[in-house]
Every structure is written in structure tokens, then in C-alpha cells.
Symmetry: C2
């Protein structure tokens, strides 16, 4: 690692920096970024969220290995110490297993799959408890899974235990309709592939991340947009992102348009933070 541009930065440092670089990268149409706030969700809420999340990220990297579900819950609780409510819930859901993988020298699709596949019912319980700290936009559960609705938070834990569901099991249930859950069940396929593209891209890292955000949004409909506005609208958003690729002025216009329309491709922003983390670990310059 002696030729790493940040020889003293740990996976925890890189995870925190990934959260900061994600929100700083602009334009990321529809999301809070360096140049845009939402009405009640401002840039500085994300800065405080990133700092507050750190103790949870530290647990994720801990050699004593507490359940990563506990690390996630601690990260979300710390993140919530600002007035913007949910800033980085989805980012942290992706970062926690990536940090665990990096801290145990296996930051690869196979390595992070080992981490997610090793999760237990205790990890699932931590994940559910995390929903008690902030409001998270989620889809309704499948018709037969009311007892497992994440919006029940800690109240759903007995049902989890009764059915012996691990965190990996829980996320598999929503992999079809939640882009973050999909990463969990595919060895973070899109994350690693996109990080490779960021590494060979050029220019400031925040420009690279803004470009990859648009690429990711163009390539696959954002699942938060689908939950909030339906599948057709989400598909249209991706087509519009595709049309703006490689054209900064068009991307800026799209950012204005999405803001006016209330379109928030938040899952793609989560994925961008995960991509930033892998790229940082692999030496992308800052």
C-alpha cells in the first residue's frame, strides 16, 4: 500500500470521505449536491450525517466483529443527529458490508458476498431497529409479508426471529424493487463495475462521480423514483438521464427539471457513495 495516495486512511476514513464526496459531486440531478439543496434537506445535513455515522462505520471495521446489522443501526443512529432526518440510510446499507470486506482484506465481489452471506437473524434485527431512527421511503411489503414491513422497525423483530430470517434473506425479499437490496444479493456487481470506470476516468474525483451517477441512472431505473412515482416515470427519468450523458449543460438543466418535478433518484446516489468508497480504496486521486 506504500504507493497509495492516502497511506494512512483506513476503510472507515474512506467510507466517511465517500459520503462527503457523494454529496459534493455535482450535478447529480434530483439530489442534494454541492450546488443544490432540497427544502428541508440541506447540504450541511449530509456533512453532519457523515461525521455522525462514523462510530457505526468503525463497528463495521472492528476486528472484534460485532454483527454488521448492529454496526448499521449505530451508523444510522449517529447519522440522524442533524435536522434533515434521513440523509444517508441507503448509502450506509451499502457501505457497512463494503467496509467489513475492506477491513478484512476482501474488498471484491466474492469477498463482500462472503460478508453478506454470513449475516444472521441478529443482523436482520439491527437493520429493522435502524428504521426507528429516521423516516425512510420504502415500498409496501409483499401481501404475505405484512409482519416484516420495515416500517414496523424493532416491532418486527419477533416475526424475524420466528421465521429465522437473516439480513441477507430480508434483503433478498426486496431485491426486485430496491436497488440497494439488489447490490446486496449480487456481490455489489454494479458498484464494483462502476468503480472500475471511475478509476480509469480523468479529472477531479467529484466530476468523475457526477458522471458515473448519470451513467448509473441512465443504465437502470432508480428504484426510489419507482416507489415514489411509478415504474413508467422511473423509466422515463432514466431515458432523460441517458440523453444528458456527456453534456454538462444538459445535466444542469436536468437537475433543475428534476427539482421542479420532485424527482429524487436517491438509490442511484446511494450507489454512487458505494462506488466512491471502492474507488477510494483502490487509489482514485483526491
Amino acid at each position: 500500500m506504500s504507493d497509495h495516495p492516502r497511506p494512512d486512511m483506513t476503510p472507515v476514513d474512506h467510507a466517511e470521505l465517500a459520503l462527503l464526496l457523494e454529496v459534493a459531486s455535482t450535478p447529480k440531478p434530483g439530489n442534494v449536491d454541492r450546488h443544490r439543496d432540497h427544502d428541508d434537506l440541506r447540504f450541511e445535513h449530509f456533512l453532519a450525517g457523515a461525521v455522525g455515522a462514523r462510530p457505526g462505520l468503525q463497528l463495521a471495521a472492528d476486528p472484534e466483529r460485532p454483527p454488521i446489522g448492529d454496526a448499521f443501526e449505530r451508523a444510522v443512529r449517529g447519522m440522524s443527529q442533524q435536522d434533515g432526518d434521513n440523509t444517508q440510510f441507503g448509502c450506509l446499507l451499502l457501505l457497512v458490508p463494503l467496509v467489513r470486506a475492506a477491513a478484512t482484506d476482501r474488498l471484491s465481489p466474492a469477498g463482500v458476498a462472503e460478508v453478506t452471506e454470513a449475516t444472521t437473524v441478529d443482523d436482520a434485527a439491527g437493520f429493522y431497529r435502524a428504521f426507528d431512527h429516521v423516516d425512510v421511503a420504502v415500498d409496501d411489503p409483499p401481501p404475505d409479508a405484512d409482519a416484516l414491513d420495515v416500517r414496523r422497525g424493532a416491532d418486527a423483530v419477533p416475526a424475524l426471529r420466528e421465521r429465522d430470517l437473516t439480513l441477507s434473506d430480508v434483503l433478498s425479499l426486496s431485491a426486485e424493487r430496491d436497488g440497494n437490496a439488489r447490490e446486496w444479493t449480487t456481490g455489489f456487481e454494479r458498484t464494483f463495475a462502476a468503480a472500475d470506470r471511475v478509476l480509469v476516468d480523468e479529472g477531479p474525483v467529484t466530476d468523475r462521480l457526477a458522471r458515473i451517477f448519470l451513467d448509473l441512472l441512465a443504465e437502470r431505473p432508480d428504484t426510489l423514483v419507482a416507489i415514489e412515482h411509478g415504474d413508467e416515470r422511473a423509466a422515463a427519468v432514466s431515458r432523460r438521464a441517458d440523453a444528458a450523458r456527456g453534456d454538462l449543460a444538459a445535466a444542469e438543466e436536468l437537475a433543475e427539471a428534476f427539482r421542479e418535478e420532485g424527482i429524487n433518484p436517491g438509490t442511484t446516489a446511494d450507489l454512487t457513495a458505494a462506488v466512491a468508497f471502492v474507488a477510494l480504496e483502490r487509489g482514485v486521486p483526491v
Copy 2:
């Protein structure tokens, strides 16, 4: 502290968040901020600098109490792990004793004066070693103090030891011409007074910090501007800041003008980070 808006945030967290809020606050005419970069010094360099500084800030808060000069040197070394060179040297010089004071429950002018007055020659040596990590704009030393020129870095340490100079002694030597050294020798007088004003101000914390930056610049010439452009120019910069107070459009124009003129009131930005830290510790909302 149970009514603190950030019950789980430590002085180290608040110091890191102060660094982030300082650079995010805009407009801060002449400095990198949320809306402006310099040519080779960009916003993301400050984000990475803040994360990288953390292990040094942790040493400053350490109950085992290593010399704060060592904590400072570690913070600067960590900060320097980005491509912008010196991002937050002056901020850290102010934050390190403030963090030590906060971590020992004496974050007050008297408490931080105890911290600075307790410094030793070892602290001074750490301070000098920190100059080896980045390029810092400083004034020439007094005619009889060539051997103590900070630009000598670690090479000046034997001269320090020979003269038995503590870090407090060293900074007293430049208190007349360096605003940060002046804070060290006055119990952080301006820092605490400005933090009180930030606490009773209203609106987003980044707006409050942008306002206090302009106030501080108006009230006293910036010593970095004086070093780089002379005393008369520094006084004129303060008069221009005074004229822009309370007028956002005028402050934005001033930011453009200072950028064109190469005016960088960096010491006032350092002070703003220290103010942010004290305000965060005292519960300013984010």
C-alpha cells in the same frame, strides 16, 4: 448534555464537522467555499483534509494526553493526504488546543489558556515538524530569529531546545502579525466572542458562519492578506468586507472581486472554523 442536539458527538466529531462546515459556508469572499474553488485548491481537497486530520484530533482529545504539538503534527500529516497541499493548517492550529480543552471539560477562555500555557518545548517541536508536511504561507521571522524560522521545519528543533521555547512562547513571538498566534496568546478571545454571536444568530449554520466570517474580516485585517499583500491592502480588504456586511449580493460580488485580485483572507477562515467548533460544542443546530 441530554438536551444537546447531537448527544453522541464528541469534541473530535465536532472539530471535524467544524472543518467541513467552514469550507461549506458561502460566500466567504476570497476563500474556497461551497460555491468557489481556487485553481489548484478545490472543495474536495478540504473534505479529504478534514477526514485525514481526524487521527491527530483524536490525539488532541486523548485522555493519555500526548503533547498537543504531536497531535497537531499528526493532524497536519493526515490532512496533507490530498492533492491540494495546505488546506487546513491554520484551522488545526486553533482546533487542537480547543479540542484538548473541550475533552477535559474546560472549553472556556480560561480553560484553553490553561492548555496553551501548559505547552512545552516538545509541543513546539511538534509544531515545527508539521511545517515539513505542507507549504504554509508565513511572514519572515524577526531579524534576530532566523534560526527559528518555521520554514526550517524539523531543522529548527535544536534551536528551540537550546533556547527552551515552548509552543506558547513560539506563538507569542508572532502574535503581532499572525491572527492565529494571537488567538493562542489571548485565550481565544475572538473565537469565543464570535461563537456567542453565532449561537444567537438565526438560520442555517452555514449562513451564520458566512456572516461571522464577514464580521470578523471587517473587524480586523486578515493577517494572511497582510503577509501576501501588505498592511494597507489588508486594511482596505477589511473596509470592503465591512461595506458588504448584511448584504448577500454585495458579499457575492466581493467574493468574485477577491478571487480576481488573488486576495485570500485565510486566517479569517481559520478563525471561522474555530468559531464553528465552539458553537457546535455549545449546541448550535445543524
